[in-house]
Each structure stands twice: as structure tokens, then as C-alpha cells.
Symmetry: C2
Subunit: 363 residues, 2 copies
Amino acid sequence: MKRPYNFSAGPAALPQPVLEQAAAEMLDWHGSGMSVMEMSHRGREFGEILDQAEADLRELLAVPAHFKVLFMQGGGLGENAIVPLNLSRGGLVDFVVTGSWSGKSYKEAARYCNPALAASSEASGYTSLPPPATWRLRGGASYVHVCTNETIHGVEFQQLPDLRALGCDAPLVIDCSSHIASRPIDWSRVGLAFAGAQKNIGPAGVTLVIVRDDLLGHALPVCPSAFDYRIVADNRSMYNTPPTYGIYLAGLVFQWLKREGGVAEMERRAIERSTLVYDFIDGSGWYVNRVDRSCRSRMNLPFFLPDDRLNEPFLAGARERGLLQLKGHKSVGGMRASLYNAMPLDGARALVDYMREFAASHG
Amino acid sequence: MKRPYNFSAGPAALPQPVLEQAAAEMLDWHGSGMSVMEMSHRGREFGEILDQAEADLRELLAVPAHFKVLFMQGGGLGENAIVPLNLSRGGLVDFVVTGSWSGKSYKEAARYCNPALAASSEASGYTSLPPPATWRLRGGASYVHVCTNETIHGVEFQQLPDLRALGCDAPLVIDCSSHIASRPIDWSRVGLAFAGAQKNIGPAGVTLVIVRDDLLGHALPVCPSAFDYRIVADNRSMYNTPPTYGIYLAGLVFQWLKREGGVAEMERRAIERSTLVYDFIDGSGWYVNRVDRSCRSRMNLPFFLPDDRLNEPFLAGARERGLLQLKGHKSVGGMRASLYNAMPLDGARALVDYMREFAASHG
């Protein structure tokens, strides 16, 4: 079956073999007589699913033993509160604001701590990244928050900042929701990484938190028990009933990632796909991407047509060709093509072919 | 295909036609070319799914227009914090503790307000319900919290308390996770109802909150934005990315409930199923259920064998006959049969047949 190419920024396309397996196992998982949705989270069967998912994720991302892997609920916006509830100790927190997502994190944190703007790229319309050497980091901050891929603005850190090299001892917190598992993570530079699953690793409703052991156990008294990392970790993500089916799906994605060659191969593909589209845009003289070339996202590619009146015809033609969900975020406008792990190179090629045709007939 | 009968307390059995439809639509929802998991929550397709789910739920439960329906994340344990964060105003809250779940709600609330025990059935081992006329309700409480069906102890309110008749003006909050949609709700007595989906209405990871309009807008400053009922309501459950696939599944369950005859028919079936099993237990002279007959749960039926050494043989024989997940909660011991909406009468019959056989061969 030929499926359309789905460029949604999230919830986003999943690998077809994952969906096929989920459909085949829907009424009976591995001869258990149960759908995964129908299993007690405390039973042997779901225990196996959770253990395997965690083991595969640890292998894929090379997560060191002194980090806990937590499967939580509430998404990235939930974590904007849950991280400061757990890590801020009510003190100073430094934020680097490079787009919509880190901006929301900065704003939400003020409920729980004393946040400050260490750097911002607002003046550039979030089309660049402030160099770490220019960040105004405060001594004694509980942590430094960075969004390493801004889904809406299409800006990505090509390497993680090295806070120690900047003279800062605070742990780095990264919101890597929209590019997790598309490139390796240098854990020596990270204290906590969080990611909503609905872009690169599964369905909406699962939030992944990977946190260094020494950062557990410092939650504020107003932190809900269900969102206290220490409690979640001590109960192996089963203090409250976890989103079992979402974890199962994420686990199927992890297995698919391993079969396809792991994160190194995902990174190679991401570079190939995104380069194809960016090179076409830049060479077209018609479509425009405004992000600085040094920090263009491999995952989320916003672009503009020369005239906004062409947007609807562009989208309608795309749909006809089976190119779905290309509309840009309302705060940015234009188009956005999200090229996550599940997007085959042929999807990027089909997009470029259509863009070329459309420009030729409307240019 | 004959499936086993699954007596899990939650996540729990789902109607087979729902699972079959989900499997059939996994790769392509209604010709969209997308799995529901792959749809942007802001798109037209998911908007239709959400609207239909809410409309069907409102119809099934006869939810009045001055109540909002919210699809949230975090489960019942999450709501134990989220309710007082939203409704307590930091003031007095009265709790009626009738088992494990209301006990946890009472304990968690102390982070946010001044909770007090209005009544407790701990002295009876949570096998009875304290009559509302004996509750010590405080004037000026922000709300009164009751768990209307205790999943672990198998205790159910056969009617909702009428707080006004007790001279109390505070809104009633009900945790109805484990019996929602198995009986009507008298909304004139309720301010807020919440329910984790994973028992009667869908997969784990969706939490339903139905709240009266006048109770919105009073969240404490430390309430995370993603869990502020006012914000969730104003954004039609899409402030953060909702658990889209879980909402879709819940929607399929709602459609199934309507086809089967709605909540009135579910109540009739629940009475029939549970009466069959309770009558057998009481008449057996061998199995024991310790809950007072006036408040036995139609959904969760804990029972004990005369000797705990028979538990493992009982469970092993049950599994052989396709009767799954009958082990009791560790805090209570023994067995527990959960007979939710998706359990056919034949499942209750098969359980009783097996129990009769087992008693005859081990009694």
C-alpha cells in the first residue's frame, strides 16, 4: 500500500512497519489473549514491554547508567512546569530563548523560581542562535534551560553548549522533543533531557525524561507526587498508571530504529533529506527559508512562497499529490515541512519535485 | 475469534468491536491516508474526532451545558493534586475516606490546602460506607471529595450524597474513575467529576474531567498551566498536545456504548453481572466477600478463598480456562474480578462456573 507523505510537525508520521505491527497485535499481543491496552501495568506482559523499551532506548541514545529514564505524561508544556518544580529548588534558573518553545519554558518557570534571560535571539526573529560565549550565565543557577530544536522556528543547535567550558557548573536541561533520536546526545554536557514522544518516537501522551541521578530528590513541596521525578524513578514510571499503549508504540519505534541502523543512520538520513530540501529552496530563487545556515533544523523546515495568496493553492496541490500537513505554524506563517526519522528520502524528493513544479507554473 | 475474558482492574478489557475498528483504521483513518496517531491535533480530522467524542460523552452521561468536558493527562493520581490546585483556593477541603483511592487523595491535598477527614470507614477495613448524615462537614470548605467507587476495596456509593440536604453549600468532587459510564450521574449534586479512562472508557493516558463552569478560573499560582482547568477549557483540551490516540479510542468506546443502549443498559448489565457473581460467592459457603451488601461495587469484586495457599492454583487454573488477571490488589490480597462495561455476561458466567468447579475439587 502506497501511503501519502505526512509532513506534520507533531503528532507526526510513524514508520509504516510500526503501524502494521500495532494493527496486527491489536487484539492479541504475543499470544497473551490481550491487547496491550488491556493489560494491567503491574502484570508480567507489560513489564516486559516497558523493560524492553527502556533497554532499547538506552542502547540507541547511549544513556549512561547514572541517568534514569522516565516515561511520564503531560508533554513538553507539562515539563515546562515539572522541570522547575523538580530542579529549581526555588532559586535561580537561566534560560536561553531561541524560539517559541524555549520562550514558553521561560515564562512558565516564573511560577516556581527566579528565571532570567541569559540570551535571546528574538531580535533576529529567531532565525539565529546566540553564541554560547555571549550567554549571561549567573553563578549559582540551579540549571540552564535550552531548547535544542525549535519546532516552530526551525532552528537547531548543531552541538550542545559546553557549560563547564563557559565557567558554569549548573546542569544543562535540554528540551529535545523535536529532534530526539535523530542525532547522538553528548551526556557529559547534559543534566536532564526531556521530549514529548509525538515527533520522533511515538504517539502523543508519552513524555520521555532522562535525568542524572544526582538531580533527583529536590522537588519543591508543591510538586504533585505524580510528577516528582524521585517518586516516578523509584516506581519505575509506574507510580501512577503509565500511558501503556503509547509506551508500547514508542517501544516498537525503538525496535524499528535499531533495525534501520540506529541513531547514526538516522542522523545520516536527516542530513541527506534536509540538505536536499534546503538546497532546492536556496537555489530556487522563489521559495525562502530565513534561518541562518549555521543553525537550520534538520527536522523542521519552515519556508515561504513569494506571495501569501499562493499558500492555499500550494497546499491544495500538495494534498492532491499525497503530500500532507505542510501548512506552517500560525505564529510564523508560510509552510513547514517536518522531516522526522519516519520520513523516507523519497518523501523529501516528492516534496522538492512538487515545489519545483508549483514554482514553474506559478512563478 | 474467541478471546479470553480479562478481569483486570485497569488498564482493563475493551470491547472487541472497538479493538477491531482501531486495528482496521490503524494505517488510514477514513481515507485520510493517516493513522490517527499521525494527525496534527490542530487539523480538521482530529478536530472531528475530538468533537464527536465530546458530543457522544455529553449525550451518554447527560452532561449539562454549564459543565465543561476536559480531556487531560496524569490519571487519577495526577488529579489528586490537580483538583486542589484548581479548586481549593488554598482553603478548607473535606474528605470522605472510604478506601485506598480516597485515602491517597486526602494525603496529596495537604500540599495545597487544609484538608480534614469528614468521615472514614477505616475501622471497618473499608468494607462499609459512612452514612452522609454522620459526615463532619466544615462550613466554608472549598469542596468535599468522595471516591464513588473504590477500585481496590470494591466499595461503591449506590447514590451520590446530597450535600445541600446536609446543610453544606460546597461543591462535591467525585473520583468516579472505576465506574464512570456504568450508571447515570446526578449532576445537580456534583461540581466536578474526574476519571482515568483506563477502566471503563479507554486506554491509560487519558483523564476525563467534567467541571461546572463556576469552578473554573480559581487555580493557585503554582498550578502548572497545562493543568489549569480554565486554560484547558479555553483551549478545548488542546493547550498542550492532547493524547490524541487515547481520545480516539475513548471515542470509539462512546460510540459502542451508544450502539449497545447507553448508560441505562450498561447499568442493567452491571447489576446482572455482579449479582450473578455475588450471589454465587455468598451461597458458596467457601468464597468470601467482606464488603457490606449495601455498598458492594458492581465493577470491582474482591473475594477470598478459604486458604491463601490455594491462590496460585486458582489463578493457574483460571488462566488455563482463559480467565485472565484475577489476582487481587497486593494491599487487600485474595482475588478480584473487575466486571466493567466491556465484560459480557458470559464472562461472569464462565467465572462462576470455574469458581464452582474449583471449590468442588479443592473444598
